[in-house]
């Protein structure tokens, strides 16, 4: 299968990462901020897989894929904890505006 050049994947990855970064700064809703972080992680994943496709060595190719697996694991753990924290914050103060939650206590 004739694949697109590596640059194309990397540029796409860069665009997605930028969108995520802008979202994290612009948004005030922590859930949407979380989603933007996921977007950034996925941009990195895309770069990993694209690089893996352009390696000659089988071991190097597999390593690229395995890094993506680790990112999946980390993202899952992060989301479980993060959403738990958001639910607790909501329970405590009925609002989840990140600007209002600036203290490290309930």
């Amino acid at each position: 299968m004739e694949a697109a050049p590596l640059n194309a994947y990397l540029v796409l990855s860069a665009f997605l990462f930028t969108m995520g970064a802008i979202g994290v700064v612009v948004k005030r809703n922590p859930i949407v901020m979380f989603m933007c972080i996921e977007l950034m992680l996925n941009a990195a994943n895309l770069a990993f897989v694209a690089f893996a496709r352009y390696q000659t060595d089988l071991l190097a190719q597999v390593s690229g894929h395995i890094f993506v697996l680790f990112v999946f694991g980390i993202a899952a753990a992060e989301v479980a904890i993060g959403l738990g924290i958001i639910v607790v914050i909501f329970r405590l103060r009925e609002s989840i505006d990140v600007d209002e939650v600036s203290l490290l206590r309930g």
Partner: protein
């Protein structure tokens, strides 16, 4: 040629949906567009002959993580119009500045890279067997650490969810 056309269609869908995630004012729409984005990424992984990763992308991200997001949005009723929050206006220009900086840097990096640019023929690397073998031999210790991390995540979320005894 067809593959390139497909890639560019998918890339445009991915970028537009990512933009929608950031600029949509309704968190539920954001989440749905993010699901679409993850789905297109999974298709791109399939095109890169990484089937295993593509399938896991759909299972883990679209099937589990995003359902959790939607669940929390709906549980806390954040998707209803009165709960939709405004964006911070002051930080917007700054955000675009930062974003443009990141984009310029990354795209610049992508074009000056001096790596072998020729696509390799599709290999066995994307199959479950090869990945599994590497995962449990060469990468065994990181996998164990990942298990510890996920266990910590589970325990942490249970602790968070427990109601405080008054």
């Amino acid at each position: 040629m067809a593959e390139r056309a497909l890639f560019f269609i998918l890339a445009i869908v991915a970028i537009v949906s990512a933009g929608g995630v950031v600029f949509s004012r309704n968190p539920v729409r954001s989440a749905l567009l993010l699901v679409l984005n993850f789905f297109t990424l999974a298709l791109i992984y399939f095109m890169l002959s990484a089937q295993f990763i593509g399938a896991l992308q759909v299972i883990v991200y679209a099937g589990a993580i995003m359902v959790l997001f939607l669940f929390v949005i709906m549980l806390l009723n954040l998707g209803s119009p009165e709960a939709v929050m405004q964006e911070r206006d002051l930080k917007r220009p700054l955000a675009y500045l930062i974003g443009f900086g990141i984009l310029a840097t990354l795209v610049g990096q992508a074009f000056v890279l001096l790596l072998p640019m020729t696509p390799q023929p599709p290999s066995e690397a994307g199959t479950a067997k090869v990945i599994g073998q590497a995962l449990f031999t060469q990468w065994a210790y990181p996998v164990l650490l990942m298990g510890v991390l996920l266990t910590v995540g589970v325990i942490g979320s249970i602790l968070l969810a427990r109601r405080r005894v008054s």
